[in-house]
Every structure is written in structure tokens, then in C-alpha cells.
């Protein structure tokens, strides 16, 4: 990920200075050669010029804009699919899955907690732009720009619908994942979103075997379950969901009015088509009112217990931080609880730093994880509570509509709507194209699924 996540120049410079200090040996001249031998230079091939990052940004903006246009105005699945493939090729295989909006979350978080770190311009844009677009146009980023979404979308062959209750349950994972990612990024321990990114190793055509396996697994599942990563894991998706609830424009199945033909009922591989909803039956209605009251009371309790659990996990979560791991290892060695040393502990000793310093650092970090644990756990508790409330209120719905939050704006449902076909006919006839061709057109345009 080119120039992702700066540590400030100073930090590096200080490191360099330290290393000079530690160098010890004085610079020693090479021998004078009588044969007139010239000292060769060490080759220093340069990294990819930073300007390309800005090109990436431009491409991103264009892609977002185009995707929004295709979803909301053109309403053409085929075009969307084409754009998806492009994004897959550009942001995926060409840019090797980096720069990546999903990973950008961590950089943003870190920049708020690490005084020595400021997030690069490009990363900031990659984080913000999709969000801004979502506020206006819904999740058009997921539709055809995100390479992770794209690779899952193209492998989707024979979708089976996931029952909505299961979906509701599994979606919790994404929130937990987001929380964890923020926690570890804030403590400067790790970028877990990048560590466990299942598809990036495809884009690079190499990588750790286990990650490859993980990716393959996701793709296999993805052939039958629409975009499992996006729906059940993607931390960025969690943010996009909430924003797209309030988006100015939104994906509608029908271009004008719903005739309740039920044709689109199972058109959506992501279970985002909401059927019309009847009134509560009277007895259910009362019960649900009570339940709701109960759940609202339950919310703060859940938050507290969540936080408490998160706090209880601090020693475990802190292990993710290298310093803590090292400190624990050294401690075990010092107290003779383990035999032998590791590279890390040897390296530490060779620096001659006092173990007490290391221990102090480590326990500070643990303390930070304690606080972070409270927040993280509290967040999870809150999410669960809200979800419970969410599934126990319901709003009367008369039409078939795409659920604002979970609609990935892939445009598959368009094809199922008779009204849509009418619209197209109108367009095509207005462009005086023969019915036959237009039929062909419709026919083909059934594709992409």
C-alpha cells in the first residue's frame, strides 16, 4: 500500500540518529588499490513515485461517480457489472488491493491516538470519499468500486438466500470486527483488517498459504452466498450501512410505482428486498410494546457488561502488541518458567535496555488495553442492544423496496421489475429501436447474475 500510514519523518530520523550512536565502530577507510580499482556504488532502486497515489484518487472519484450514475439514473446491471470488473482489475489486480478504503479505517484511528503519526492525504481521501458518496447515493461504493466486493460479486454463481434471522445474527460479526480493528489500531498493536484480508493475496498472486486458503474458502462460499465478506465481516460496510440509511437518493426496485407482482421477491442475492409488512396482530402488538420497553431498559446493562467483558480481556488482547509479547517472554525467561531464549528476547538483551523499562512499557500498554476494552466491549454491547430493539420494532410497509442499509446497489433486482421493462421499452421506442432488438437487449440484460 504505497505510502500508507506515515510515521513522522522525525521518528525515523531519531531512529537513524540512535543507530549512529549505537554504531560504535568508527568509519574505516577501504584499502587503497594500486590496480586503480573503483569502489562500485550500491544500487538503490526507487519505490513507485507518489504521484500515482493521486491518480488512484482520481480514478476512485470517477469510479464512484460513474457507479452512482449507473445505479440511480441508468439503472443498467450490465454497465454496473462492467464497472465492477474494471474496479477489480484496477484497484484489485493492478494496484494489488492497495490503496484500500477498508484498511484506511485503521490509519485514521491510529492518527488520532499516535502523536507521531499523521495519516497521508490519499488515505484520508480513500476513507472519506466513499462515505460522502454514500450519504448522497447509498452504497454505490460497494456496488462497483470496492475490489473486495467486486471479486466476490464476479464469483457469485448460484445464490441461495440466507434466512433473515441468520443474517441478523451473523451481521454482529462485522461490528465486533470493526471494534477490534479500531482497538488494535488505536493501541498501535496491529492492523488486523490487513492481516486477515482474505482477497489481497489473490490480487498479489502470492502470499501466506493460510491467507490464500482463507481467501479460497470465502470465494467458494461466495459462489452460493452473495458477498459473505461484505455482509458479515466488512468493518467499512458497517459504517456504510448506517450512512446509507440516510442517503439522499436511494436504490428503488421499480422506476416508478410498485405493482406488488412479487417477481422481485427472491431477486436479491443479499436478502435486501423487503416485502410489504402487515399490521401487527393485536395481541402481538401489545406484547411487542412491553418487549420493546424491556429491551430499552436492557440496553445500558448490555453496554456495561460488554465493557466489563472487554476489560476482562485486556491481558489477552494486549498480547497482540509486540512489546507486551516480548515483555511477557522476557519475564518468563527471567523467572525461569521457560527454557531458552527467542530471537526477540536475544535482540532485546543485545540492546542493553533495562528489563524494568520494558515491563513498565508493557504494563502501560496493558492499562491502555484495559480502557480500550471498556470502550470496545461497551460498543459491542450497544450494537447488540440496538439490534435487538431493531428486530422488535417494525414499520408498516406497503411496497416491495430495497432495504436502505443492506442494499449493495448491485442493480440485479431491476431486471425483475415489469415496470422497469416498460420504462426501457419506452426509452427504446423513443429511440425508435425495433421491439425485437429491444427484446434481445432485455434478454441479455437478464445477465450479470
Amino acid at each position: 500500500m504505497t505510502n500508507f500510514r506515515h510515521i513522522t519523518v522525525t521518528v525515523v530520523f531519531v531512529l537513524i540518529l540512535c543507530s549512529i550512536g549505537s554504531a560504535g565502530a568508527i568509519r574505516f577507510p577501504p584499502p587503497e588499490f594500486e590496480s586503480g580499482y573503483e569502489l562500485p556504488d550500491t544500487t538503490v532502486p526507487n519505490p513507485r513515485p507518489g504521484i500515482y497515489d493521486y491518480i488512484d484518487t482520481i480514478v476512485l472519484v470517477l469510479a464512484l461517480g460513474l457507479s452512482s450514475y449507473l445505479v440511480l439514473k441508468k439503472r443498467s446491471r450490465k454497465a454496473i457489472f462492467a464497472l465492477t470488473v474494471f474496479s477489480l482489475i484496477y484497484f484489485g489486480f493492478y494496484r494489488r488491493g492497495c490503496v484500500c478504503s477498508i484498511g484506511a479505517i485503521q490509519n485514521i484511528v491510529l492518527s488520532f491516538f499516535d502523536p507521531g503519526y499523521a495519516v497521508p492525504f490519499v488515505v484520508l481521501l480513500f476513507f472519506l470519499l466513499p462515505l460522502v458518496f454514500t450519504v448522497f447515493f447509498g452504497r454505490t461504493f460497494c456496488a462497483a468500486v470496492c475490489p473486495l466486493g467486486a471479486i466476490q460479486d464476479v464469483v457469485l454463481l448460484r445464490p441461495f438466500s440466507v434466512p433473515s434471522w441468520l443474517e441478523n445474527g451473523l451481521r454482529l460479526l462485522a461490528y465486533v470486527y470493526l471494534g477490534a480493528a479500531v482497538l488494535f489500531a488505536a493501541t498501535g498493536s496491529a492492523f488486523i483488517i490487513c492481516r486477515y484480508d482474505p482477497f489481497v493475496s489473490f490480487f498479489r498472486l502470492s502470499g501466506n498459504v493460510n491467507v490464500l486458503i482463507l481467501g479460497v474458502c470465502f470465494l467458494i462460499v461466495g459462489m452460493f452466498i452473495g458477498r459473505p465478506y461484505c455482509r458479515f465481516f466488512c468493518p467499512y460496510g458497517v459504517i456504510l450501512r448506517q450512512l446509507s440509511r440516510i442517503s439522499k437518493w436511494r436504490v428503488t426496485i421499480t422506476p416508478d410505482e410498485c405493482i406488488k407482482c412479487r417477481l422481485c421477491e427472491d431477486s436479491c442475492p443479499f436478502g435486501a428486498v423487503k416485502k410489504p409488512v402487515e399490521q401487527w396482530p393485536a395481541k402481538e402488538y401489545d406484547r411487542s410494546k412491553k418487549r420493546l420497553a424491556l429491551l430499552i431498559v436492557l440496553l445500558p446493562i448490555l453496554i456495561f457488561f460488554g465493557g466489563w467483558a472487554g476489560y476482562g480481556l485486556r491481558t489477552t488482547t494486549a498480547k497482540v502488541h509486540a512489546t507486551v509479547r516480548l515483555a511477557e517472554r522476557v519475564r518468563l525467561e527471567e523467572t525461569g518458567k521457560v527454557e531458552g531464549t527467542t530471537d526477540a528476547s536475544d535482540a532485546f538483551r543485545s540492546t542493553g535496555t533495562e528489563t524494568s523499562e520494558l515491563y513498565d512499557d508493557a504494563s502501560n500498554i496493558r492499562a491502555r488495553f484495559g480502557l480500550g476494552g471498556w470502550i470496545f466491549g461497551g460498543f459491542v454491547g450497544f450494537v447488540i442492544g440496538m439490534k435487538l430493539i431493531g428486530v422488535s420494532i417494525w414499520r408498516k410497509r406497503t411496497d416491495y423496496e430495497a432495504d436502505r442499509a443492506s442494499c449493495l446497489a448491485c442493480g440485479r433486482c431491476f431486471e425483475y421489475c415489469p415496470r422497469e421493462h416498460l420504462r426501457r421499452k419506452k426509452d427504446s421506442t423513443s429511440q425508435n429501436i425495433t421491439a425485437e432488438e429491444s427484446d434481445k437487449a432485455e434478454f441479455k440484460s437478464g445477465g450479470g447474475r
Binding site: 500500500m1 504505497t2 505510502n3 500510514r5 506515515h6 513522522t8 519523518v9 522525525t10 521518528v11 530520523f13 531512529l15 537513524i16 543507530s19 554504531a23 568509519r27 574505516f28 577507510p29 577501504p30 588499490f33 594500486e34 590496480s35 562500485p40 550500491t42 532502486p45 526507487n46 519505490p47 507518489g50 492497495c98 484500500c100 484498511g103 492518527s111 507521531g116 499523521a118 497521508p120 492525504f121 484520508l124 472519506l128 462515505l131 460522502v132 450519504v135 496491529a190 490487513c194 492481516r195 498479489r204 502470492s206 501466506n208 440509511r245 440516510i246 439522499k248 401487527w280 402488538y285 411487542s288 527467542t342 530471537d343 526477540a344 536475544d346 535482540a347 543485545s350 417494525w394 408498516k396
Partner: protein
């Protein structure tokens, strides 16, 4: 909750509107904060005094792309670089900094600790991939060069050269190969925390530079 509590369309629109602005506001704040931070860091001199870009403007100073590199004074040549890189053939390779090299006849970066004989025979070579070339210059000096196409960055020669010689062999991230991941997989696995980020226009930490 259904009927009665259901807000009238325009009221709902208004709410949505309000939320939208709130959301945009939040994003603005986040962006602004993240952005302002760089200015703060400029004021703190964290960027300015880095001396890495004296004449260039604030943008270059603080917004300079950064890349991964190995601090040769922290590296313990553990060998993780060879296997933990996301690339099949690691982006980390051994480099030879000639001004530091002693041009020894018997180089312990090149020869087995107990060489059977002082010649280039495979049985005497330390490097498992035979990536080091030894060429005669003049008595008693020999030049040692790394063939990067063969080097896998295991750091065996680095150990030898450090222990007995001047340490002119050491590992560096080669940026023609490095993908510069957001979180470098090797950095995460580095036991001595030798991986640091350096400005992309000074992408190497060659020993001679610091020595001078």
C-alpha cells in the same frame, strides 16, 4: 409503534435531512482533524526539522510518502525476512556497501566458518543460494558482490560479516520489489523491531550514510 408513531413523510424527510448534515459534519470533523494534525506536527517541528527536505514546502515536508525499510543497526538477521514477506521471493535482499567492506581475502560473509579451502568452491561457500560473487582485485584484496536475482534475504552472510568483519553486508528492503503494504508482514514478524518507515525520497538506510 406502527401507525401512531409513524412520522408524516415531510417530517421524516426533515429528520433524514438533519441526520445527513450531521453525518456530513462528522465526516468533515474527522477529515479536518486528521488533516489539521499534520499542521500541528509542522508547528511542533516534527516534520520541518527532519532535515530530510530543507527547501521544499509544507506539503512535501509533512505529506511525504513513506516506505518500509530495515534499520541495519537493529537488524539481527534472524531470517524471517526470507519467509514472511507477502511476495514469494522476498523484497528484502542483502546489500554490500563497498566503502565499509574490508575486501578481505578470507571473508566470513562468503566462506563457511570452517572453509575446506580458500576458494570459490561450493563446499566453501556460506550462502545457501550462492548469491555472493567473489572476484580477485589485487593481492590480497577481493571484491564481494551480491547477485540479487539469487539472494533470498536469509541474512546468513550478514551474521558472518557482522561477527568477524566490518558488517558491510546487511539486509535492506528493495523498493523495486516491495509492495509497501499498509502493514508490512515482515515488520509484524520482526523480532527486533528493525522495520521503520522512511521518506520515499530517501528509501534506504545504508550504513555508510550514517557512518560519515
Amino acid at each position: 409503534m406502527a401507525e401512531k408513531s409513524k412520522p408524516s413523510p415531510d417530517r421524516r424527510q426533515f429528520l433524514a435531512e438533519a441526520f445527513r448534515y450531521a453525518a456530513l459534519g462528522t465526516l468533515g470533523v474527522i477529515g479536518g482533524a486528521a488533516f489539521a494534525k499534520r499542521y500541528r506536527m509542522v508547528q511542533d517541528g516534527k516534520c520541518v526539522d527532519s532535515g530530510l527536505c530543507k527547501e521544499c514546502g509544507l506539503f512535501e515536508k509533512c505529506y511525504k510518502p513513506q516506505v518500509w525499510q530495515i534499520d541495519p543497526y537493529k537488524c539481527i538477521a534472524c531470517g524471517n525476512c526470507a519467509t514472511y514477506c507477502v511476495l514469494e521471493e522476498s523484497a528484502v535482499k542483502c546489500v554490500q556497501v563497498y566503502p565499509v567492506c574490508g575486501y578481505c581475502k578470507i571473508c566470513f560473509g562468503f566462506f563457511e566458518p570452517e572453509p575446506h579451502d580458500i576458494n570459490e568452491g561450493a563446499e566453501n561457500q556460506l550462502c545457501p543460494t550462492g548469491a555472493i560473487k567473489r572476484t580477485y582485485i589485487e593481492d590480497p584484496y577481493y571484491e564481494y558482490t551480491i547477485d540479487e536475482s539469487l539472494c533470498i534475504g536469509c541474512g546468513k552472510c550478514v551474521k558472518g560479516c557482522n561477527t568477524f568483519g566490518n558488517g558491510s553486508f546487511f539486509l535492506q528492503v528493495r523498493h523495486d520489489r516491495c509492495l509497501n503494504c499498509n502493514e508490512c508482514a515482515i515488520a509484524a514478524a520482526c523480532p527486533s523491531g528493525a522495520f521503520v518507515r522512511v521518506p520515499a525520497d530517501r528509501p534506504y538506510l545504508l550504513k555508510e550514510v550514517e557512518h560519515a
